[in-house]
């Protein structure tokens, strides 16, 4: 009995002792060293995860989406686990040839990339087949819903989602946004619980001044015109003359940013190409003459019947043979000889001064990168005949934006405005920055601007720009045909021309300024028959959209 009792006591003591040890250990772990062990557990089970928020959208002025982002998945294969992969079926699902898949699998790598940025439909199709060794990694896909619309302004991103051109490049950091952090806890089975979200999803976006409808009209007309002109490139800019806002900036040939792009295509021709403006520059010469020598308005100029020797080896010509012309007719018929004579009255210093005031030879201040400032040598470096030649737009170069800005200056009554392409930028629907119109300087008086406006009206009424005429709308505009300088021949080319038409309407209270440039048209190259009809097509298509009423138009009441 006693032995049994001792045995029971012994077992009880033993159990008590064991519990004591466990209790002591628990006391040590849970109470004395609680902080240390809690940290260790936290280290092993909790993780801070980072996810990149989706790249911000780009909208036009009416909030039409021009660029957006979504999550896509890239498909990889773990080569060691890919035994028994049905290559033919996998090829059908991914759209990659069986030979390419086999060569990727034989690359002696643990994991190979099969296809990047697959759309959800494609991912589902592949996942449903349960291919061995196939796995997916999330990535961002940049999508341009309007395809090629305003692509030179919007720009594109590379495969790493970094902006390469246009607004995508300019606002790359802003659109990329910040990485979002959150704490997750993982259990033994690898299941995750989100414990803490440090921030909400940021919604960053950029609003452009572009009007996608005007942009679409401009692009469609240029595309059509390319078929008839076979030009190297065509450009059109539409601007609000009072604010300097660019409403459309189109070029053709174009590209679809949703597809693979040739890097050479990324250059924005409207900003990056400089060329001699030709006769459209005559508004600068005319403005300088009217400001400094207002008496020229009532003068007549003898235009030498189409041919005039400026210097020993330099003879200039007019398109037609003209005799005595008034200042307005000289402008309407675009006589180079008349303008050369006018330039002598103005003098080189004043002509240079006005060209600079109109913004030639310097950057316009637009937010986009890649702008060329063109070339306008200081008057001190001009040769003996430079003043006469520059007066009709040769011996200097300009980009498209500088030319349209000079026409907008006349259209708004004489103030040079800074061209704008960004309207505002937003973060979480809060307006971070609005880009207000900026007046650069007053270039000419309202009276001079009005006189030039009347002369530009005459160009369209009976001069070189008659093909721009639209019934019931007063259009003010100017043609320009410039020979291109051939670097190899070191002289002006006989076969390469730039054909331009710039104008605004309704001329008394302009709504828009439009510039059309046709670079190296094949066959006919005169602006009056190449660029002018394109201007007319664009103008007639945008009238209703801009709600510009034709004066003689029949209206039902």
């Amino acid at each position: 009995m006693r032995t049994v009792r001792y045995k029971i006591i012994f077992i009880c003591l033993f159990i008590f002792f064991m519990f004591f040890i466990i209790g002591s250990r628990l006391f040590w772990v849970q109470i004395v060293n609680y902080t240390f062990f809690a940290q260790e557990v936290s280290k092993q089970s909790k993780r801070i995860k980072k996810t990149q928020t989706l790249r911000g959208n780009i909208y036009d002025r009416n909030m039409v989406t021009l660029a957006t982002s979504m999550v896509a998945e890239s498909c990889y294969i773990e080569t060691k686990k890919a035994n028994g992969l049905d290559v033919e079926l996998f090829s059908k699902c991914t759209g990659i040839s069986p030979a390419d898949i086999r060569s990727k699998l034989n690359q002696n790598k643990n994991s190979v990339l099969i296809k990047r940025k697959l759309l959800p439909d494609e991912v589902l199709k592949i996942k449903s087949k349960n291919f061995p060794g196939v796995y997916f990694e999330k990535e961002q896909l940049r999508f341009y819903p309007e395809n090629s619309l305003a692509n030179y302004v919007v720009g594109v991103v590379g495969t790493d989602n970094k902006g390469l051109s246009g607004v995508e490049y300019l606002f790359d950091d802003f659109l990329t946004g910040l990485a979002k952090k959150y704490v997750v806890m993982k259990d033994g089975k690898g299941r995750e619980i989100i414990l803490d979200n440090d921030s909400e999803d940021e919604n960053r976006y950029v609003v452009l001044t572009i009007d996608s409808r005007l942009q679409h009209i401009a692009e469609a007309v240029l595309k059509k015109a390319h078929k008839t002109t076979n030009a190297k490139s065509l450009t059109c800019i539409i601007q609000n003359p009072y604010t300097g806002e660019i409403l459309a900036m189109a070029s053709y040939p174009s590209y679809d940013p949703n597809k693979k792009i040739d890097p050479k295509m990324l250059k924005n021709i409207s900003l990056g190409d400089a060329f001699e403006p030709g006769s459209v520059f005559k508004i600068v010469t005319a403005a300088a003459a009217l400001e400094k020598h207002p008496e020229v308005l009532s003068k007549n100029f003898f235009c030498e019947n189409g041919s005039y020797k400026l210097a020993k080896n330099i003879t200039i010509h007019d398109h037609e043979k003209y005799g005595l012309l008034s200042f307005q007719d000289m402008f309407a018929y675009s006589s180079n000889i008349g303008f050369a004579k006018l330039a002598r009255i103005i003098g080189k210093q004043d002509l240079w001064q006005y060209a600079r005031s109109f913004g030639f030879g310097m950057n316009t201040g637009i937010e986009l990168t890649g702008e060329t400032s063109g070339r306008l040598e200081p008057a001190s470096k001009w040769s003996g005949v430079s003043c006469e030649i520059i007066s009709f737009g040769q011996e200097l170069s300009a980009n498209a934006l500088q030319i349209i800005n000079s026409f907008s200056t006349v259209a708004n009554g004489g103030v040079l405005m800074e061209p704008k392409i960004i309207k505002s930028i937003f973060c979480n629907n809060k307006d971070i920055q609005t880009f207000e119109p900026v007046k650069i300087r007053r270039v000419i008086s309202p009276a001079t601007a009005d006189s030039i406006r009347k002369m530009l009206e005459a160009v369209v009424e009976y001069g070189t720009g008659v093909q721009a005429k639209i019934d019931g709308i007063k259009i003010a505009g100017k043609t320009g045909t410039a020979q291109k300088y051939d670097k190899h021949l070191k002289r002006y080319s006989d076969s390469k021309y730039v054909s331009l038409f710039a104008g605004f309407f309704p001329s008394k209270k302009p709504e828009v300024t439009i510039l059309v440039i046709v670079d190296e048209p094949k066959g006919d190259y005169w602006a009056s028959s190449v660029a002018t009809p394109i201007f007319r097509n664009i103008s007639s298509n945008i009238l209703e959209y801009l709600n510009i009423r034709q004066e003689n138009k029949f209206a039902l009441k």
């Binding site: 999550v71 999508f143 819903p145 395809n147 619309l149 009238l543 209703e544 209206a555 039902l556």
Partner: protein, 101 residues
Amino acid sequence: MRIHRVHGANKVKRSGVYFKWSIIIIIFGSFYAWQRIESRKLGYKISEINGRILSLAKENKYLTMKIMDITAMNNLEEVAKKRLGLVTPKPSDIVVMEELK
């Protein structure tokens, strides 16, 4: 003998108190464990729902993009011209209806 009986009654009384405390501790302990398990379960559920929300948001975005693609001006124009045979009106084709005042 009387003293011994009183001592025994105290013992019974004391063990009753221990028992009650043990029950209370067990109840509280069980409640604590249950609450921890439930919160963990809810955590999994929340994570699962979050995952579904993300996947639905992704699907929604994809469908929105498909709509944008279909309603892009170029596509609409192509459908209007090629499938429906519509043409862009010339300014002379448009008659303005003025409101009577």
